[in-house]
Amino acid sequence: MRHRKTLKTGVELDVFDKGKGEAVLYLHGFVGFSEQDAFVEPVTSGHRLIAPTHPGYGDAPVPKWLDSTADAAFIYWSLLDELEIDSFHLVGSALGGWIATEMATMSPDRVKSLTLVSPVGVKLGARDALDIPDLYKLSNEDLYQAFFSDKTDATFDPDSMSDEEVVAFIRSREAVALYAWEPWMHNPKLRHRIPRIAVDTVLARGAEDKIVAKWYADGFAELFPNATRTEIAGAGHDLLHDAPDELAKLVMQRLGSR
């Protein structure tokens, strides 16, 4: 289950760790990880789900030297090394998809399958337009709604949230700024490293995603030697919170491959 782990490097990480069997590393999106039963139950029946909280989210201290998704990727490799997990299925959503892609470029042979859900991290479009909309130009209400499809009631109402939940929201905004402020939502080097990732890759996107556009997901997938695209009807940007059962289905299809 969730616990604070101190790595040999001194980095403190909050890690959700549940189940036995083949390992699945799940890297959460802009919204932090939370134990959605519809996702956790199916995946942990017969598999081991490891879901760290990205540094900057939660209340673990943020390493002073950390300011990029590649830094997070190295931290997660250290985590896997210490857990003695050699190979695993890698799943990442949005910001977590960016970190997952960074990880896969570093040590592609240890990744059994790669599943990216509405990932960010590369620059594909024109120089004079943002590929990913500027989330910091949205009010909290609009930002919150952008994570969900219209079918979901996603009213941002701090009054109905606990202090802990409000702080988590504030910290998530701070953490995304730390990772993605400049260049906005991408690492210019990453697209040139992606060809190293030969493993079967699925790049999925909720068809109602208001943050990652379809053209962006299509173009992102084309950078990989072996990627297929899938659109999930009716789902919004953050599958873990908007359509956790769909996320579980997507991941279960990948397990046992290779």
Binding site: Y136, K137, I170, R173, L178
Partner: protein, 388 residues
């Protein structure tokens, strides 16, 4: 007491506020008429020089992508003033260091103005207000850390004179720092840092730099100064904190009658009332600590916010953010503030704002300079020790 004339160099000729979402960051520059802009620049420069003639010193600032301040490069306006003025001290408050990618360039600019003005520079460093991070594309995470590292680097650049040195910090990396010119004043021009929070003031006090705080009113200012004095003493700089380390800034309009003064003062309120900015642009992630953001989400408001809903000259005077009236009244208001906060040796006078026209500005400045300032200089010398 030194008093410094300040204009934020506003461009006030805007459509009604209902027609735009934000006066900062997103307001299209089609609303800026370059011909009117040229008149304004020259007018504001003239007013600084008139203030100098009246015995006041000069302060300039900068903001970006906003109609509230059309000086996006304070060193440029300062260099014009360095050439045109002859005796006033020139305070830049300040260089937004968390948003400047090259602190060595800042050191060069400041040394140059100091030399050009023959040692009249007071150099101010600021983190940069929250509205500045988007225009600068500056990461709001770790701004304080960047600012302090940049100040350290600039200080070294000012004071090391034996050829190149290297600097490899957490944020800034230079293999060859060797500025030409070096500052006129030795070892450095007086260094100022601004803060409106007790936490920031403590750090400034611990380093012995001059502190500037703006529109913090009676209680806010008192807390900020208390923290500065605590920081100063805890760092072992001595028991006595000279008042010339502390400054306050508020709006001032002085005239022969209260009625006339309030007419001018009314126009100065533009300063606080014309600041329409949506919350998410005014409070970027990480700019204030998480705990403070929780308080904001729970309904806590900036002290000025309530005032902005119901602005009036009387209310502003009551809050200690404005000093307006006859010379006697203005002197009395100053004394009340001075005594309440434990004294300050500098006052940054917002004597021009928004639609306060040239003649009105000059009349207010002259009345203050001639009939209030001499009394402040006599009664509150900068050599006094601050405290209660």
């Amino acid at each position: 007491m030194r008093v410094w004339h300040f204009s934020e160099t506003a461009y006030p000729y805007l459509p009604p506020a209902e027609d735009y979402d934000s006066i900062r960051i997103t307001l299209p520059n089609r609303y800026f008429d370059p011909v009117k802009g040229a008149e304004l620049y020259n007018r504001y420069l003239d007013e600084w020089l008139i203030a100098e003639d009246e015995g006041l010193d000069i302060i300039v600032n900068e903001h970006h992508q906003t109609a509230t301040c059309i000086d996006p490069a304070a060193p440029l306006i300062l260099s014009a003033l360095a050439r045109q003025s002859t005796k006033a001290r020139l305070l830049i408050l300040g260089n937004p260091l968390a948003n400047r990618k090259n602190p060595v360039r800042v050191a060069e600019e400041m040394a140059m103005v100091d030399v050009l003005s023959e040692g009249r520079l007071d150099v101010g460093f600021v983190r940069g207000v929250p509205y500045e991070v988007l225009p600068a594309n500056s990461n709001p995470a770790r701004m304080n850390e960047r600012m302090w590292e940049a100040i350290d680097l600039i200080n070294e650049a000012f004071t090391r004179h034996d050829g190149p040195f290297s600097f490899e910090g957490d944020f800034f990396h230079f293999r060859n720092v060797n500025i030409w010119p070096r500052p006129y004043q030795q070892p450095t021009p007086p260094i100022w840092v601004s803060s409106t929070s007790p936490g920031g003031a403590r750090q400034i006090g611990a380093r012995g730099y001059r502190l500037a705080t703006f529109l913090t009113g009676f209680d806010g200012t008192r807390k900020v100064y208390d923290s500065y004095r605590e920081g100063w003493r805890a760092a072992g700089l001595g028991d006595d904190v000279p008042t010339d380390r502390l400054s306050y800034s508020g709006m001032v309009y002085c005239a022969d009658t209260e009625e006339e003064a309030y007419k001018g003062a009314e126009k100065l309120l533009w300063y606080v009332t014309s600041n329409k900015v949506p919350g998410h642009l005014a409070n970027p992630p990480g700019y204030v600590p998480t705990a403070a953001n929780l308080q904001i989400m729970r309904g806590a408001e900036h002290p000025l916010k309530a005032f902005q809903q119901k602005p009036s000259v009387e209310n502003a005077i009551e809050k200690g953010i404005m000093f307006a009236g006859t010379p006697d009244q203005v002197y009395g208001q100053f004394k009340r503030m001075y005594d309440y906060v434990g004294g300050f040796g500098n006052f940054l006078m917002m004597g021009q704002a928004g639609f306060l026209e040239h003649d009105e500005t000059v009349a207010g400045v002259k009345k203050f300079a001639r009939e209030v300032y001499p009394r402040l200089q006599a009664d509150f010398p900068g050599t006094r020790v601050s405290g209660y």
